[in-house]
């Protein structure tokens, strides 16, 4: 074991800069992914095939293709088709798209878990489908989907480590750089792991808070 506290300390500023990149990537992708997921989930339960089928295709593709492959395809593959994207752009597209697919499935499940009697009661009162969705179904579904969405966000946060493969100086890559620079593997990696862990803690807490809160009613 070659843990050296001074190397660990010296690597921290660089690691924290990487962590900032990781955190912003995660936050932006979580927000965009949630928006995609909400819209996707609503389309997924629609009776209209034009809304439903494209979403099914999207979800199937994003769930079936490894994130690493998506990243590499966008970063190394697209330029050969004449499309050049910044690494940050590629990272956000890939992360948000994959997160959006998972959130879509969560939202679909949440909507479908609501007793059909709720929709029937709402429509019988004269509500339109979209009003009933907005006022009756989604508010109830949101309680059920928030904990799994938090969980999915946690997964996404950790998956951001894959963007180090497309030259982004995220937390992992910063660790790797320090490692080469100081010729010490253990200390920077301890820092990397610790910082990932610390960043996931708020999500872990949020998750258990939401689960507790929504169990009550």
């Amino acid at each position: 074991m070659d843990f050296q506290f001074d190397i660990f300390l010296a690597s921290l500023p660089s690691l924290l800069r990487g962590a900032a990149t990781t955190a912003s990537l995660a936050i932006v992708s979580i927000v965009i992914g949630a928006a995609i997921g909400l819209i996707g989930g609503i389309c997924r339960v629609s009776r209209r095939a034009v809304l439903r089928y494209p979403v099914i295709l999207y979800v199937t593709v994003m769930r079936g293709v490894p994130l690493l492959v998506t990243l590499m395809f966008l970063y190394y593959g697209l330029p050969s088709a004449g499309i050049l994207l910044e690494p940050v752009t590629v990272a956000i597209i890939a992360l948000a798209a994959v997160n959006g697919a998972y959130v879509t499935e969560i939202v679909r499940g949440g909507i479908q878990s609501i007793d059909p009697g709720q929709m029937r009661a709402a429509r019988s009162l004269g509500m339109s489908y979209s009003l009933a969705m907005q006022r009756i179904i989604l508010p109830q579904a949101s309680r059920r989907v928030l904990p799994p969405i938090t969980n999915e966000s946690l997964t996404l946060l950790k998956n951001t480590a894959l963007v180090s493969t497309i030259t982004l100086s995220d937390l992992l890559r910063s660790g790797l750089e320090v490692m080469t620079w100081k010729a010490n593997t253990f200390s920077p990696f301890a820092g990397v792991a610790l910082i990932y862990l610390l960043m996931t803690l708020p999500l872990v807490w949020l998750n258990s808070f939401l689960e507790k809160r929504y169990r009550l009613r």
Partner: protein
Amino acid sequence: MSEPRMKDVSSPVPALVIRRLWKSYGQNDVLKGVSLQVEPQEVVTIIGPSGSGKSTLLQCINFMEPFDDGEVIVNGKHIGYLPNTGSTRVRMPEKQLNLLRRDIGIVFQQYNLFPHLTVLGNVIEAPIHVRGLSREEAIARGRQQLDKVGLLVKQNAYPSELSGGQQQRVAIARALAMSPQLMLFDEVTSALDPELVGEVLATMRTLAQEGMTMIVVTHEMAFARDVSDRVIFMDDGNIVESGRPDVFFSNPTHDRSKAFLRRLNGRHEPSISSALTTSA
């Protein structure tokens, strides 16, 4: 025993006209040419064995279930399909359907209250967002309806905090808050513990006495006998017999109604046997 109520003789438009209604689920013909007319302020109960199509009939009246043939006219207005469109039937636009549904209240066996809203929230939701009432106006009317069903004290409770009977009365108040012209009840007491049935029936009885037009699918024979103006017996997708409750219960004419009543009687349920032994 039913109170003689003032019939609205001035209104020539029936509250509901159903003509030759056909409905099937796949190969299963559920309604086979049902025709029925209900006058304003009339209370009609529908009884019949399980699977005879009673719920389906109610669901066709507000077009929550589209029917295959025939027509449904509520307060003079066709619902579901545009009238006079020749041989091909044209489904009416959703918007138009939503407007028609505002005037038809329905209460289900499973109360289907909105669990994320308070009791008052349940009652004012549609008046505000469907009728377009101001919040103040909706609250004032909603409180009135809750008072009527005896649950004003529970206005800030959530449905999960209420008994089944209370939830069902809120469901009735929620429907009434839309000021419907026709109320449909689908076995609203069937899911309730026996001791809670009375309070819900009492609410419906009051409503009937106030002159609400009601179609009530029920297994409560005492209610059918005492409260309704007309009893309809359905079997296998048809209206088999229809008549005044005293006549129907004491002297059913059709074999199938006789058999149905005999079966009920044989079960020795107090409400049913008393309905049939106490003279009307």
